[in-house]
């Protein structure tokens, strides 16, 4: 099978869906000729023209609002939010308008749009260009949230998102744009609400979202050297969440570490851990461990920034501790 970068996978997904459905258009800052600062959408304007690949002024709340209105009346916009941090600018249009229109209208209106954005620290971009804000939108009923962890997931999930009749926010990991993975040439979709079991094992389950999937895989390699059998799960979508796969694994291994790059307080790790505790409690041999990003704004200085995100060593160490029956006091 051929191997392509996450960036190419996203580009292909958009191009394929735009070819299939003339109501799909792409809108955002420097998405046309410049192909975004990450060079993800390069070539699309040449194929689809400036009517369907639309460069906007720096008006995030404005073009997000336009997308909601267009979606409500028959288009399927893909909105490019250059950095996940800029989600804060579009919150009203996304959360008060897009997320609620279907419900408030008693099912008569719907808003089929995709917000494509990103997450991830350690690019030395400081506190306003490094946040992982997926927990915020996951909190809002009416929004779906996808978290691709490789080029393969990025393509399959984005195509599903574009076809979904609801507003979907999809977070790509900025650090992964140039990472390659096997991606089929033939068309495929990845359904929402289906987690991937990346590795089977029976002593501990590591659940890693997006950027943290790789961290969990590295941790599993460390633990494999110590003959510890690890199961790895990538939820792939947070809303809807594949509770069944997660609970089955928790029941099998009895020990779970949940790893996510959003802040730990009130975050995704808390949600997943509490569902496991509620629904698989009597199968557990240890408390479910949460590992999120440190609860601080992302600092610029590399020596500080590196301390804020979970690492494979720390994940492995926590897994080791719960297997040994030691409580994890310090994360």
């Amino acid at each position: 099978m051929r191997s392509i970068t996450l960036s190419q996978a996203v580009n292909e997904a958009i191009a394929e869906e735009m070819r299939l459905d003339s109501s799909v258009f792409l809108i955002g800052e420097d998405v046309a000729e410049a192909g975004t600062p990450f060079k993800i959408t390069s070539g699309l304007v040449e194929e689809f023209g400036t009517e369907r690949v639309i460069d906007t002024p720096i008006s995030e709340p404005g073009f997000m609002g336009l997308a909601v209105g267009a979606a409500m009346t028959g288009s399927r916009p893909i909105v490019d939010i250059m950095f996940g941090d800029f989600l804060f600018l579009i919150m009203d249009q996304l959360c008060n308008q897009a997320a609620k229109a279907h419900y408030m209208s008693g099912g008569k209106l719907n808003v089929p749009l995709v917000v494509r954005t990103n997450l991830g620290a350690t690019r030395r971009s400081a506190a306003q260009h490094s946040q992982s804000l997926h927990a915020l939108v996951s909190h809002i009923p009416g929004l779906k949230v996808a978290m691709p962890s490789s080029a393969y997931e990025a393509k399959g999930l984005l195509k599903t998102a574009i076809r979904d009749d609801n507003p979907v926010v999809i977070f790509e990991d900025k650090l992964m744009y140039q990472d390659k993975a096997d991606v089929p040439e033939d068309e495929y979709l990845i359904p929402f609400g289906e987690a991937a079991v990346l590795q089977e094992g029976n002593q501990v389950t590591l659940i890693g979202t997006s950027s943290m999937r790789q961290v969990c895989e590295e941790a599993a390699l460390i633990l494999a050297d110590e003959k510890i059998s690890v199961e790895i799960i990538d939820p792939r979508t947070l809303v809807p969440l594949d509770e069944k796969t997660i609970l089955n694994s928790a029941k099998k291994t009895g020990r779970v570490v949940v790893v996510d790059e959003g802040h730990q307080n009130f975050g995704v790790t808390a949600e997943i851990a509490s569902r496991i505790s509620e629904k698989a409690f009597y199968h557990l041999d240890a408390p479910v461990i949460r590992m999120g990003a440190m609860d601080v704004p992302v600092p610029f200085s590399p020596v500080l920034e590196d301390l804020t995100v979970p690492t494979a060593e720390k994940v492995a160490s926590n897994a080791r501790k719960i297997i040994a029956g030691e409580l994890v006091h310090e994360l």
Binding site: E33, A34, D85, A127, Q128, H129, S301, L304
Partner: protein, 328 residues
């Protein structure tokens, strides 16, 4: 004319030095990037020096500014030291933000710089709020809000200009129109005349050549004085140009901007050269004297960079410090 020149020659030379200081800082910063010694990316101010210097030389230490992602120039112009600036750029403990901010948040707060902002348009509310405080407290300071042409697309600007005009706030909106926002020409993303947008709120708006530091300074001095008397707000559009790419990594950029255009600005509209030629023609300084100024500042910048490269990183226990202020 001659009399005026004599009394002001010191301030003209100060403006020259400040512009050279910004250019030297940026040259060194660019080199740090090329040598892979700088974490992350940075946006260069080279070419736009007359804007920051012309305006900040019309301000006192008590006056406030808000800055942008392209903020090194504002920081220097408002009085910052190169050593602490380079330390910030490299994430060192002695940086103005203790290494927590980096290039996009660099600011010398003690000189009234309320911060560089990585959210385009993010400081418009802050600047206007600072002016509201001045009015409420009867303080005499003025706040200048720097932002780019691209930032005029943010709706926040129109909300705060409306309030500033309603309440006569001492704020000056300084739009640095360098012709581009990222990789897009301004006329593709800005409808109508930018000045008309301010005028729609009854705000007095001026356009000025942002490469002519004396013109900028003259206008700013006048508007600052009037804003202090309660005649604000004001809006200035400064026509300028950035010499580098949008950020240091934006090297191949002929698809949105021609080499000829860049060369034309550098050769014919360089703010340092324009002031230098004028200083010589007015006999305020000789070519040799200007050369000495440039050499001294370049040497100072070099020393500052070396210092910052050797300086220590913050201690790891600083990572969760400053999330909240200790309330005493």
């Amino acid at each position: 004319m001659a009399k005026k020149i004599n009394t002001n020659s010191e301030s003209y030379l100060k403006m020259y030095s400040q512009m050279v200081k910004i250019r030297s800082f940026e040259d060194q910063a660019n080199q740090l990037y090329l040598d892979a010694k700088m974490p992350g990316l940075t946006h260069m101010y080279s070419g736009e020096e007359a804007v920051a210097v012309g305006i900040c030389e019309a301000l006192t230490v008590k006056d406030k500014i808000t800055s942008t992602h392209r903020g090194h120039g504002h920081c220097v112009a408002k009085g910052a030291e190169l050593k602490q600036m380079f330390c910030e750029l490299l994430g060192k403990e002695e940086g103005y933000c203790r290494g927590k901010g980096g290039s996009m948040h660099i600011a010398d707060q003690s000189n009234g710089n309320l911060g560089a902002n990585a959210i385009v348009g993010g400081s418009m509310g802050i600047a206007t709020g600072s002016a509201l405080r001045a009015k409420l407290n009867g303080d005499s300071d003025v706040t200048v809000c720097f932002f780019g042409d691209g930032a005029t697309a943010q709706g926040l600007l129109y909300e705060v200009m409306n309030m500033a005009a309603l309440w006569n706030l001492p704020v000056i909106y300084a739009c640095e129109n360098n012709g581009y926002s990222e990789y897009t020409a301004t006329d593709e993303i800005a409808a109508g005349d930018i000045l008309d947008r301010a005028r729609a709120f009854g705000i007095e708006a001026h356009k000025v050549d942002g490469q002519d530091v004396l013109a900028v300074n003259k206008l700013a001095t006048d508007l600052v004085a009037r804003a202090r008397k309660g005649e604000g707000p004001f809006f200035i559009e400064l026509i300028t140009y950035r010499y580098h790419g949008h950020h240091v990594g934006d090297i191949n950029r002929t698809y949105y901007r021609s080499k000829e255009e860049e060369e034309d600005w550098k050769k014919n509209k360089d703010p340092i050269k324009i002031l230098g030629d004028w200083l010589v023609s007015e006999k305020i300084a000789s070519d040799d004297e200007l050369q000495i100024i440039r050499d001294n500042i370049a040497a100072e910048a070099h020393v500052a960079v070396q210092y910052a490269l050797e300086a220590s990183y913050p201690n790891s226990n600083e990572v969760d410090m400053h999330v909240y202020m200790e309330t005493t």
